[in-house]
């Protein structure tokens, strides 16, 4: 910048004015500075300018999701990005892969970078550590999973309700032996879906069969293996609820392998790109991901703009999307 000022024969402040499109510079000087900028390939240093600017924002949101390559996380980030773009704000993102130590380290890094806000899909059991960050003035909005041990805004869906929808739908088709496949029980969404599923069965007068409840399944492969075992039982389930998008993928695969695509009913949780093209088309509990993303963005920017009102917990209802796989009647 000093070089630009020297080459244009003006002061630093004048260069600053030109670069920031501030008024009070004659056209003559302005073009002279711009020429110098171009000749020297000068690029302003945003970090340095923010340092002095009072109440400056970095124009950066830190977003921690579980897995950037999962269609749910990717769609969520995309919705967030679109909302942030209109506010000239960028997204700094990272994947946690359910590793709890990664979360706190990354939050610390993001605070150190002075992001304007944090968006968190937490992997840890408790986010008590966040209290200190919130006190420093960095707002945080939780998504998909509510905060624990700390007060912060959140946007989640009613997972228990969604799982109940799935279970009741299968019960309505006459199923009585319904298996449920769930992610790690320490993950809030998984626990809630398990709760909703189980209570729907008991409400229908069924005694849940522990052989039909599979938990702690995280991958497509593990789900496929679990479903194979279920189908090999002496008294196999006539319907399956797969409580997460990638678990549904594993279930579809294992059922198809056995040639039972038209015999065993299946309902998934979370929609994904090709779910209407599998055979039969997959019935799912759908979350309105773009809406979740927009809601998160709204909360984030409210807070960034200084809103200090009480913490908000937004709960959205998922819905049942009937497509075929969930409407297969029980065998015999």
């Amino acid at each position: 910048m000093r070089d630009v000022a020297a080459l244009a024969g003006v002061s630093l402040k004048t260069v600053s004015r030109v670069v920031n499109d501030e008024p009070g510079v004659s056209d003559d000087v302005r073009t002279r500075v711009q020429t110098a900028v171009a000749r020297l390939d000068y690029r302003p240093n945003l970090a340095a300018s923010n340092l002095r600017r009072l109440g400056a924002r970095t124009g950066l949101i830190g977003a921690l999701v579980q897995d950037l390559s999962n269609s749910f996380s990717a769609a969520l980030l995309r919705a967030l990005e679109d909302a942030a773009r209109t506010r000239r704000t960028g997204i700094l993102t990272a994947s946690l892969d359910e590793e709890i130590h990664r979360e706190q380290a990354l939050v610390h890094d993001l605070v150190t970078r002075r992001v304007d806000a944090l968006v968190l899909m937490p992997s840890s059991r408790s986010q008590e550590y966040l209290a200190a960050e919130l006190r420093t003035g960095t707002p945080a909005v939780f998504v998909d999973r509510p905060p624990r041990g700390v007060e912060a805004d959140s946007v989640v869906v009613d997972n228990a309700y969604g799982a109940r929808l799935a279970a009741e739908h299968l019960l309505d088709q006459g199923h009585r032996r319904i298996a449920g496949i769930f992610h790690l029980p320490q993950i809030h969404t998984a626990a809630e879906r398990m709760r909703g599923f189980t209570s729907a069965l008991t409400d229908a007068g069924l005694e849940p069969d522990p052989h039909l409840m599979v938990t702690g399944v995280a991958t497509v492969e593990a789900t496929a293996a679990a479903v194979r075992e279920l189908l090999d039982l002496a008294d196999p389930p006539t319907a399956i609820f797969a409580a997460r998008n990638n678990l549904a993928v594993g279930a579809v695969r294992a059922i198809a392998e056995r040639g039972l695509s038209r015999e065993v009913a299946l309902v998934g949780f979370d929609d994904f790109p090709m779910s209407d093209l599998v055979d039969p088309p997959l019935t799912v509990i759908r979350q309105d991901v773009p809406r979740i993303g927009r809601t998160v963005a709204d909360l984030v920017f409210q807070r960034i703009e200084g809103d200090r009102s009480p913490v908000q917990h937004v709960v959205l209802n998922p819905s049942l999307l009937v497509r075929g796989s969930g409407e297969i009647p029980p065998r015999r």
Copy 2:
């Protein structure tokens, strides 16, 4: 930081030493400083520290992809993220949606933020504007599409070769009326795939039928509409090549609607999560996305670490993944 120093009764420099884990501080002083840090919720300002640090890196890579929510972009970013994590580097990402003006504005923004490197999946026709950024010392690596009008590293697949693989595979099954559906022809990957496809047909002695070549298709819906038209022709194609992942989705959908899933052969370009579960499983030209991501990361960090060797253009070969939809024989 000044407050921390005051509370601990030490100088700024000592706080700096403790915060950065530098040696030369007695245990006593160290703990006193740490206590003060905790009491005051002090968080160092990375931007400020980088300002004075000579040869400092921001530990940030700017990655511009076409669409964060497309499985190809998401998987690519994920691979990049994993490689970057081991180098304590974060990813600042944005979607371009093929909008050419967005690209240059975002590149400028990222340079202003002093990212250590740029990863670009360009939407513009020419990246001449990048020359100035490269001169300022910000390395750039192109991915999926090669640079034009500027010298920079790149990692792409041989799209013409991949399309030729698809066409030859369909020709081998005896197909003679093969339709091709392509994205906007100004996009390099689309043009190359069209070229490879067309030349494979002419090499086989076929005269390409303009009615069977559909270009400028960008969305699932548009593809479905185009395929419906193709199937309505007096002399419809017996096989279709869909030159991009979302185009394959549209093609599967339209073919399924007509009940022709087992009548019309289909080969896609780019694999995606559920492609083996559609009916019939989708035969595709696959790109090894994690490998592309790792290769990009290798180049990026070589450049960040000061490698000034000549520009490298890495070309990877895609491969044919036979799964069923591409092996349907022509109708009589």
